[in-house]
């Protein structure tokens, strides 16, 4: 019964809308108009994937050194971009290096240091926005390398450099590739940053949006969406393949060790690199703060608190809508994710793998593609449902479908840890089916549930690429409002609204953490790694 519901759900809200992309597809659309943005997207994704993985690796290496001064601070700053919409960094970039940017005006006398509208500006911002993803994956990978592995190498006479090159790096290799592919996917799907910064450097996600909303050219839009879908799917399944192939540590458990295998000099270098990176992050977010209290950016730089009042009047409704929808998407995603995890891990039934694959599939589909397909598919009544386009339901559905894979992975991770014998003991005592799940398994899975909740909330409230296609006059989201402000050149308002959004995210996260005490970035990292 529940299974039927699940399969129906995925059919209706993943496969059915995506099917619409193929229906509208026509070959002649594939001309030069589409190849340039396609190649641009791939190039951007590759560069960002490489650089973000490099940065993430350095940060992960540093924060896993117990003796590194300030590692806790570096770790929190490294993940800061996760809790803000990615394109907030693009705003900061303009405030710093744009024509009216602080640095441009003060240091370079009005001539921008480098063209921020185009490939390099965009790449830099995306690297900063997606380094946290790489960092969390690689931190998990490095933590999983037992200390005894490095000690054994040193014990056999290897120096620190040799140990790093022959032991640590090879053991992190699969993690590095997997991080590259995931960031590549995130960059492909990114919508907000290229919309603000791409300039003449056209990318598919933005182009598809333009075709759909400005020119009403569904053929072109769907063709571009499909072109976006293909590399993303390849990257996703490649990433899963690499994770499966990663090497397994054999032998018994080993104790943690406080031995400092890296040594003083490399540690100083790491400290320096992390400090520079952290300074850049502080500068970016500091700029958002400065921008939010500056009257009409670019015209005189006068201090004001009026921006907050203005944006509150403009956007308090969408702000509430965003918080409301993102907040309730949390428990739905958490519960569904755990239920599916339970079915996939503990029950044997036909289509078990299929259920898992279909759930994860939603993660492989770029937000832009899913959003576009929703806009086309649910513009008309389906299966007796009323028209979804323009309602809150379609936004909520997108949130849930997009974040379910992470909820599922969090659930699977916990279930694999929870000893099956606990459940079997309960079964012997007469618990079964739903009762067993509710009384025994559910409490054991509570941490995964709340991790899923927190993750969904953050992801949903900062999301833009999918939802931008399904918002309407009645139901809009704050991220869409911020983007609109940027497009109108209202940078101060955009900064103020971003700041309010970030504050709300932090408050809600602290709230969840306070009440549960179970949500941690480690859980988040685990979930990210699993997907």
């Amino acid at each position: 019964m529940f299974l039927t519901f699940l399969f129906l759900f995925f059919f209706l809200f993943v496969l059915y809308p995506l099917g619409h992309l193929f229906v509208g597809f026509e070959r002649p659309v594939l001309d030069a108009q589409i190849w340039t943005p396609f190649l641009n997207s791939l190039k951007l994704g590759a560069v960002v994937g490489f650089l973000a993985s490099l940065f993430g690796f350095v940060l992960a290496l540093a924060t896993t050194q117990k003796k590194l001064f300030g590692r806790k601070i570096f770790a929190s700053l490294a993940t800061l971009p996760l809790i803000s919409p990615p394109f907030v960094l693009a705003i900061a970039m303009i405030l710093l290096f744009g024509r009216q940017g602080v640095i441009t005006q003060t240091v370079f006398a009005g001539t921008p240091l480098f063209p921020i509208y185009g490939f390099w500006g965009l790449a830099l911002v995306e690297v900063l926005a997606y380094t946290p993803t790489a960092y969390l994956i690689l931190k998990g990978v490095l933590e999983a390398i037992p200390a005894s592995m490095k000690e054994a190498a040193l014990n056999l006479g290897a120096g620190r450099r040799y140990t790093f090159l022959k032991i640590v790096l090879p053991l992190a290799k699969h993690g590095l590739i997997s991080s590259f592919l995931l960031v590549f996917m995130e960059s492909l799907a990114d919508f907000g940053n290229p919309l603000i910064l791409s300039g003449n450097f056209e990318v598919l996600a933005v182009k598809a949006y333009m075709e759909m909303t400005s020119f009403y050219n569904i053929h072109a839009a769907t063709a571009m969406a499909l072109m976006l879908l293909a590399p993303s799917l390849i990257a996703f399944f490649g990433q899963r393949l690499f994770l499966k192939k990663s090497v397994v540590v054999v032998g018994g458990k080993s104790q943690g060790s406080s031995f400092d295998w890296l040594g003083k000099k490399p540690r100083r270098v790491l400290f320096l690199l992390c400090s520079l990176y952290s300074l850049l992050i502080i500068l970016m977010y500091g700029m958002i703060c400065v921008g939010s209290v500056t009257k009409a950016w670019g015209v005189g730089f006068a201090f004001t608190l009026g921006n907050f009042k203005e944006v509150w009047e403009l956007s308090s409704k969408t702000l509430f809508d965003s918080v409301f929808l993102a907040f309730i998407s949390g428990p739905i995603t958490g519960l569904l994710g755990m239920a599916i995890a339970y079915l996939v891990v503990r029950r044997k039934f036909l289509g078990r793998r299929l259920l898992e694959a279909v759930t994860l599939f939603a993660f492989a589909v770029p937000g832009t593609v899913l959003g576009l397909s929703y806009a086309i598919a649910f513009n008309k009544p389906v299966l007796g449902l009323p028209v979804l386009q323009g309602t809150w339901a379609i936004i909520l559905l997108l949130f849930v479908v997009r974040n379910l894979p992470v909820g599922l992975q969090a659930g699977v991770a916990v279930l694999n840890q929870v000893d099956k014998s606990i459940e079997e003991a309960a079964m012997n005592l007469g618990a079964k089916g739903w009762g067993l799940f509710r009384r025994v398994t559910l409490p054991l899975m509570a941490p995964a549930f709340f991790t899923g909740w927190a993750y969904s909330f953050v992801k949903a409230i900062t999301a833009i690429s999918a939802v931008v296609f399904v918002v309407s006059g009645n139901w809009s989201l704050v991220t869409v409002d911020i983007l609109g402000l940027v497009e109108n050149g209202e940078l101060s308002y955009a900064a103020a609204l971003s700041l309010i959004l970030i504050a709300i995210v932090i408050l809600v996260l602290l709230g969840i953490k306070f009440f549960v005490g179970l949500v941690s970035t480690r859980g988040l990292g685990g979930a990210l790694r699993g997907v």
Binding site: S148, N155, L156
Partner: protein, 254 residues
């Protein structure tokens, strides 16, 4: 003396509390001997080995090996090899590469590496399994790789940290026989850590019983049986019974 440990002390700082994991520990080990550090979990055995290997800096005291003072020397410059409790085999390398690791580090010629690795693999009975990955081996075979990898670099001292504790009972007995045989054949100097008194008695030339970082009693297995110094020693050894009471009378039967 092959190994000479003087007043070795390690104090860990944990949440403003000081734990003396090792407390003025002194020991002399002659070349070619197998000496066991015996004690219950948490008594400081691993910490002693880690200080000898250079992974922990002693709070006080000194270690010297083959008449060289080890203080301040980094782990990769010490003439010791360690067999870890978890084996710590490199999962991304074949059996051959695992064993060859210590020789490659030393930049030996290929031919010599091949010869030495094959020779030691033959000794531990792993010939034919060179190409396997560690996760394609049984627990006992993994153990042998760990032994081979440590022995191939011809260390002055072999340090073993409960190497048999991850094996099942029958394999444990078999492996300890092999270790004893290898030690006799190759004349190895071994510092062997265990919490299993039976293992200690089977293997050792000399046993050092430790509690809370301090030596309680040391001597040959025979010394321990014939002259346990305290109730603690008796309790730990379990097998030796003491009967309390007073001899009242002896009844002789005619």
């Amino acid at each position: 003396m092959q190994v000479s440990i003087r007043d070795l002390t390690k104090v860990f700082q944990e949440k403003r509390r000081e734990i003396a994991a090792v407390d003025h520990f002194s020991l002399e080990v002659e070349s070619g001997r197998l000496v066991t550090l015996l004690g219950s979990s948490g008594c400081g055995k691993t910490t002693i080995l880690r200080m000898i290997a250079g992974f922990e800096t002693p709070t006080a005291g000194s270690v010297s090996i083959a008449n060289h003072n080890m203080n301040g020397l980094p782990p990769n410059k010490r003439p010791v090899a360690m067999i870890f409790q978890s084996y710590a085999l490199f999962p991304h390398m074949s059996v051959f590469e695992n064993v060859a690791f210590g020789l490659r580090v030393r930049n030996l010629p290929r031919r010599e590496i091949k010869e030495r690795v094959e020779k030691i693999l033959k000794r531990v009975g792993l010939t034919g399994k060179e190409k396997r990955a560690p996760n394609q081996l049984s627990g006992g075979e993994q153990q042998r790789v760990a032994v081979a990898r440590a022995l191939v670099v011809e260390p002055e001292v072999l340090l073993c940290d409960e190497p048999l504790s991850n094996l099942d009972q029958s394999l444990r007995i078999k492996m300890r026989e092999e270790i004893k045989r290898l030690q006799k054949e190759l004349g190895l100097t071994i510092l062997f850590v265990t919490h299993d008194q039976e293992e200690a008695f089977y293997l050792s030339d000399h046993i050092v019983l430790i509690d809370a970082g301090k030596i309680i009693q040391q001597g040959t297995p025979k010394d321990f049986y014939e002259n346990p110094k305290s109730d603690f020693v008796r309790d730990f050894l379990g097998g030796i019974k003491r009967v309390d009471g007073e001899l009242v009378r002896v009844i002789a039967k005619t």
